[in-house]
C-alpha cells in the first residue's frame, strides 16, 4: 500500500463534503457555470475536483467504473480506502470516471428506465481545460443561453434526445467543475 492511499481525503468530512456538494449542485442546476471545488488531493492521474466529487457522492452503495488511465492501483486503493465504493464495469455503474476518450462509447452506460429514469449513470469526465466558450447551451437552469467547452457536441445532442432517460455529466478540471444534465440542449 502506498502512503498516499491514506491521505488526500476530506480532513473535515461533514463540512467539506457539504461545500463540495453545493458546488456540484450549483453546477448541475446551472449548466455552463464553472464552480470551484476543494478538499481532496487524490493520487495521479485524478484531478482534485474529481477526487472531491467522488468523496462527496460515492460510497459502498455506488458502483464506480474506472475508464482508461484512472483504472490504476493507486486510484483503486484510494477509492477503496476513502469511499469503499465497489469497482464495476460500465453497464452496471452508477458513476463512471475517466477522460472523454476513455469513457467512450456512451451506449454502454445505463440511461435509466421509463419508470425509473433516475437509475442512470453519472459520468465524471476529466477534462484538460474547462472554459465558458464553445457549444451553446439552452434548457432548464439556463436563463437565456450559456456556453461551455464540450468534448463532442453530437454526443450530447444524442443524449438529450433520450430525455427523460439519459446520462448526466460532470466535467472536472483541476479545482473546478461544470455539469451537463440530460435536459440541456447543445448547439
Amino acid at each position: 500500500m502506498q502512503a498516499d492511499t491514506l491521505s488526500g481525503g476530506f480532513a473535515d468530512p461533514a463540512i467539506q463534503s457539504a461545500h463540495a456538494f453545493r458546488s456540484v449542485m450549483e453546477a448541475m442546476a446551472r449548466p455552463g457555470t464553472l464552480q470551484d471545488i476543494a478538499g481532496a488531493t487524490p493520487p495521479a492521474p485524478l484531478s482534485n475536483a474529481a477526487g472531491a466529487v467522488l468523496l462527496t457522492l460515492c460510497d459502498t452503495e455506488t458502483p464506480i467504473y474506472l475508464a482508461g488511465d484512472v483504472d490504476c492501483d493507486a486510484v483503486r486503493a484510494w477509492i477503496a480506502f476513502h469511499t469503499g465504493a465497489p469497482i464495476t464495469g460500465p453497464a452496471t455503474c452508477m458513476f463512471a470516471l475517466g477522460t472523454w476518450q476513455a469513457l467512450m462509447p456512451l451506449s454502454v452506460y445505463p440511461i435509466g428506465t421509463a419508470q425509473y429514469p433516475d437509475r442512470s449513470a453519472t459520468l465524471v469526465v476529466e477534462t484538460p481545460d474547462l472554459t465558458q466558450t464553445g457549444a451553446t447551451l439552452t434548457g432548464p437552469g439556463i436563463k437565456t443561453s450559456a456556453s461551455l467547452s464540450l468534448p463532442d457536441d453530437a454526443a450530447f445532442q444524442a443524449n438529450h434526445v433520450h430525455f427523460p432517460l439519459g446520462l448526466d455529466f460532470i466535467f472536472t478540471s483541476g479545482d473546478r467543475l461544470a455539469a451537463l444534465p440530460r435536459t440541456t440542449e447543445v448547439q
Binding site: 468530512p13 461533514a14 463540512i15 463534503s17 457539504a18 461545500h19 456538494f21 453545493r22 456540484v24 449542485m25 450549483e26 448541475m28 442546476a29 446551472r30 462527496t56 457522492l57 460515492c58 460510497d59 452503495e61 455506488t62 452508477m94 428506465t113 421509463a114 419508470q115 425509473y116 429514469p117 433516475d118 442512470s120 453519472t122 432548464p140 437552469g141 439556463i142 436563463k143 430525455f163 427523460p164 448526466d168 444534465p181 440530460r182 435536459t183
Partner: protein, 285 residues
Amino acid sequence: MTESAYNFAYLDEQTKRMIRRAILKGLAIPGYQVPFASREMPMPYGWGTGGVQVSAAVLTPEDRFKVIDQGADDTTNAVSIRTFFERTAQVATTTKTAQASVIQTRHRIPEEKLSEGQILVYQVPIPEPLRFLEPRESETRKMHALEEYGLMHVKLYEDISRHGHIATSYAYPVKVEGRYVMDPSPIPKFDNPKLGDMAAIQLFGAGREQRIYALPPYTDVVSLDFEDHPFEASKADHPCALCGAEHSYLDEVITDDAGGRMFVCSDTDFCEARQAAGHTGKDAA
C-alpha cells in the same frame, strides 16, 4: 446529550450522500419524483421531515437559514425547524427573505422575488399529483412513464362541470418542461406563476412518501388548464388589513364570533417590511 454529539446538520454522512445523489438526479430530470430512503427524524411525519432532510443535505455552516410555515416565520413548525438547525448545524438564521441563502417552506413561496444563489426547500406531504385519482403507485408510475395525464385533465374538467370554473385552489398541478406533471406541494395557486420564473434552485422533499424532486432555475413550468378556462392565479379580493398590499397572498383571520374577519398578508416578513416602510392598511394599529 449536547448538540455537538450530533454530526453536522444531524444526519450521518452516508444518508446525506444518498440524499445528495437523489437531489442531483432530481435536478437532471425536472419534475420527476426520485425515490430516496427517507430517515426517521426527531419530529413526526407531516411536520416537514422531507424538507428537513433536504435542508440537512444542502446546508453549509456559512448559510443563513429561514423557515416559513404558510408564509409565517413565527409558527411552531417554523420556529422548531429553525432552532433544530441552529443547534445541529450551527447555521445563522434570519426571517428576512433577501438575507437567507436557504429557505425551507411549508405551502408558500415568499412574495419577494428570490435571486440566484438562494435555495428554496419545500415540505411536501403528497408528492404524487395523480395519487388522489389513482391510489396505486405501480399505476401512477406507469402513467408518468407513458406521459398519460388524461386523468388529471378529466379531474380539472369535472371541476368546471361542477363549479363552473377550476375549483382547485392549492396544490394546483403543473407540467414541467413539457414532460412531467408535478405537484408543487400545497402552495396556493396564486404562487404557481413564480415556480417557472425563479432564479433560485427549488428542491422538494416528501419524508413520509420518500420522494425528492427539483426544479432548476428558469425551468419551464406551466399550470394545467384549458383554452376556454385559462389558469388564473387567484387570491382574496382585498388589500392587506395591516400593510395595505394589493398584490400579496392573503390569509383570512376570524376576529370574533360575530362574523368579523380581516385579511392579512400570509408572508409575515413581506408584511412587516412594508409596515416598517410606512405602508398601513385599514386595521393597522
